[in-house]
Symmetry: C2
Subunit: 92 residues, 2 copies
């Protein structure tokens, strides 16, 4: 094998090892929450919400299911633009 | 430069070119929705919700902000486990 084909082989193996797996896991939205649960559904009764409920948009909240502000760091680090989902009582 | 250092250089450049950028963009939660908006906040009045409101958990819904079922394909393709956020009226 000459030098360039060795380089190509090494490059390809490194790509497979370090990138493909990384790409798959990175494309997940939820990296850590309830990973033993096949589908994390959050369900609440409208009547139980207070004046304002603020839900996590980024799946990184330490207070999940509610927002803990982690999206701010996530947005800064990745260039993302997610913000919380807010259900509030109409002001009267 | 000998062969092994050439290989290392090529590998590093390929890594930078194909992986680092990819990793950053992949780590975003929201890939397509309102990318000109610095922070996408969904806010609703409790009084305006019907018997059941089902919100998108994956930022991939074609009916965003509500769930269009895209999380099912997303979960299958990536091994993720996200499900919708549901606010419903208590059954009486």
């Amino acid at each position: 094998m000459d030098c360039s084909s060795s380089a190509a082989s090494i490059g390809y193996l490194a790509y497979k090892r370090f990138c493909v797996k990384d790409r798959l896991s990175r494309s997940m939205v939820n990296l850590h929450i309830q990973k033993d649960n096949p589908k994390v559904v959050r369900a609440f009764h409208k009547e139980d919400l207070g004046d304002e409920a603020v839900y996590c948009p980024c799946w990184r909240s330490k207070k999940f299911p509610v927002c803990g502000g982690s999206h701010t760091k996530h947005n800064e680090e990745t260039g993302d633009n997610v913000g919380p989902l807010i259900i509030k009582k109409r002001e009267t």
